[in-house]
Amino acid sequence: MAILLMLAAAAAQVPPDGHALFNERCGGCHLQGGFGTMAIARSHSGEPALLAERHPAADLVRAVVRNGFRSMPPIRRAELDDATLGRIASYLAEGGK
């Protein structure tokens, strides 16, 4: 029981992974049916529209998030710090894995 409790405590301290962060911070627009997914479907017909299936380069993700792109507003460091953005960018670059 003690070991289980220790494992549970350790798990609680692990920061959320890229997948969870992406869903939480980007999912409002970039999951199925979202505004971002619909916009990508229009501009990249025939390609996957879900970001998690597009393998965007991590640097591209960072640039778009900080500068905004088309109808997506920029996301500021104060609301999404560089380390968290880096984990999301790596997750997307690796094809949502």
């Binding site: 409002g28 979202g34 505004f35 916009a39 500068n67 088309r70 920029p74 500021r76 104060a78 609301e79």
Partner: protein, 517 residues
Amino acid sequence: MMSMPIVSPAALRRTLQAFERIVGPDHVYADVEGRHGYTDAFSPFDDPAAQEPLAAVAPASAEEVQAIVRIAAEQGIALWPISRGKNFGYGGASPRIPGIVMLDLVRMNRIIEVDPDMGYAILEPGVGFDDLYHYLIDHRIPLWTSAPAHTWGSVVGNALERGVGYTPYGEHAAQVCGLEVVLPTGELVRTGMGAMPGSKAWPLFKYGFGPSWDGMFMQSNFGIVTKMGLWLMPEPEATLNLSMSLPRVEDLPAAIDALRPLKVSGVVQANPSFGNAIRTLATRNIRSSYWDGKGVMPQDALDAAAAKAGIGQWNFSVRLFGYEKVNEFNAGLVRDAFAKAVKVDFKESRWHRGEDLRHSGSPVPSLSVLRIVDWLGGPGGHLTFSPISPFRGDEAWKQYQTTRALYERHGFDYYGGFTAGERYLNHITMIVFNRDDAEMTARARTLFKALIATAAANGWGEYRTHIQWYDQVAQTYSFNKGALGRMNQAVKDALDPKGILAPGKMGIWPRRYRENG
């Protein structure tokens, strides 16, 4: 236009170094990328970067805000506070003028207290509608939020801007009870009962003793709100939704007159919103999917698109919240009132506690409404024009016809709706344009000016406006040669003697800006 005090590079450097000592170097942003986030992402101007701030600082506590304000006052550097920067259609995260430092409050995101019995929360300005929603769900607290059309923004910021939602608590400014405020001198005050050490009624009794000041910090630049008491609605036993699609544009006045007595008497407590066909169509797809032409979408094309989508020319819901038996009784009153006015029946749906909240009327987190900005294909921009109308069908009809005619004369589709207050209608319309089309954005600006002037000539004032039109709208509130504006200036000068807080917010300029001008 006022003349702007110049900030020397040396003063800015000293100030930012001092800010870094307060909040840490990771929370002061002065590089190009760091500043770029403080622009209006949906701007109607060709170069929104021209408004960019000198830098930004993001404190984590009221004490840090106080320290920052004192430094800014010493150095004469103006601050522009934002809560979460999602005031889309009204300027977003952008300051009114460049040459200032943003005070970004998004890191102050603590939900300090929620009382399930008394039905209130005490919040910091960085708390988003989504955050509060999830907090209440995760902690199994049977209270509901009220939120505007998208839930990305700040609960505190939206209430301070007098935003609206669609539950019985939808007039958000009316739910505010008690503020903690950092004044432009750095002094910390608490309003109402919060001024009494040991009081347990700060978020319960709105007035305290003596003058009552919560309203003074709404849509103003008199202080920085660092905590807010906000009343939350107890989860109802049930909701009953009556939705209606009016087939003819000219059905609007009769429907408004049918609703008015139900609102004034309190039978309907939420804020039904009569939205036109384009408002519904734009949430589903871009215009070219319905009609692929240039200029204003013709009425026959709109009729065809609405018929195909199964919607009316005006679409609205009257949702009743509360005890099931009361809802059923009140639904009868609503049905009877509308049966006398229009020839359409309501579609009805019911939700009971414990069922999926997505069908309840509780504002579950959503950003889907943002897609309306791409109505013309994008990259989307929008400007929100939102005059108040008396709650009368004839007056709303006149305002609608006048507004739509102006939109169409300038080559834009009329996108709008009337949201019901208790005794007024909030006519929220949007000019949607493509930001990469300079001719179109110029036309949007021309239209906006015409809307303000025409509305004022008819006695219709805006309840809120885009940051770049604060002065023009403030000037329309001109009774007794602008007495209200002079009073605002006097208060500003008394509370902000150094003139450092949000210069120009709502058309209120500090003395040093007025004198430079």
